[in-house]
């Protein structure tokens, strides 16, 4: 449909068209989905970023900010203020390690743990809204992870020489 057809003449500027930009589609798609999370997360007074922090902790509790950032592809500049807010909200605790005082461990409070059960309806509702076929969805996720992997490998190639 929008791929090259012999009806529309093609020219060298086609690669500059928004319709042919993978990144633009990703950018719009991710923003538009995240916007739809808002009403689902409002009852918990969490933003999407707060929600993925909770998901990371439900998978693995009591991890450092560093490890959390690696999982979520976020840095301390984003996480630190957000985690302080979530601590104030009673979802998590922040504990500086006695062993190595550089590390701050984040752990779930009872409230944070209890939320997991109630949160089950969030992805359920989102899958429904997206009319997502589970298989198709997982395939898409795998494609995206492949891209993410390629990018981080490209980074490594540019940094192996320094040691």
């Amino acid at each position: 449909m929008s791929t090259q057809s012999n009806m529309e003449e093609s020219n060298k500027y086609d690669i500059l068209k928004l319709d042919n930009q993978l990144c633009f589609s990703l950018y719009v798609c991710s923003k538009e989905i995240i916007r739809r999370y808002k009403p689902l997360l409002d009852p918990y007074d969490l933003t999407y970023t707060g929600y993925i922090i909770m998901m990371a902790l439900w998978e693995e509790d009591n991890i450092t900010i560093k490890a959390l950032g690696k999982k979520l592809y976020l840095d301390s500049g984003t996480l630190t203020p957000l985690l302080k807010k979530m601590e104030a909200q009673g979802y998590i605790n922040r504990n500086r390690s006695k062993d190595d005082e550089r590390n701050v461990y984040i752990s779930l409070t009872e409230k944070g743990k209890k939320m997991k059960e109630k949160a089950l309806c969030i992805p359920e509702q989102m899958i429904c809204l997206l009319k997502l076929d589970p298989k198709k969805g997982m395939q898409l996720i795998e494609e995206l992870k492949k891209i993410i992997r390629i990018l981080s490998e490209a980074d490594n190639e540019n940094t192996v020489d320094q040691k």
Copy 2:
């Protein structure tokens, strides 16, 4: 690989895992790609958002902020300050319509038009970095557009009744 295998036991909380979240993959993928645009756009002193504004205008020059926002999925709160900056940089002009003074038309300056030719290497370099197979890439784009379409249809369903 990360889909259901009979090795790992599955439980009802699987849908809450980051690995199974389409939105999270989209979010990371789009952020990580956009971050890689930075060095390519720095020579033009444009951010990714400025770049997609340019792409929109290269496709269709002299359109209203409203139309630009619809194409790019951005609202005036984002566009107005950015367009003012890009006008100051000499890429575009902003003209309030004489016919209907509510409309502000955005058009490319000569500098803005000239950039199109030089910009060709930007998607080229990105495709190379992503090691993207053009066909696979377009398929992925179509999948993403399908999702975006479903979301906007869902919005319409919730607003048809008001008239």
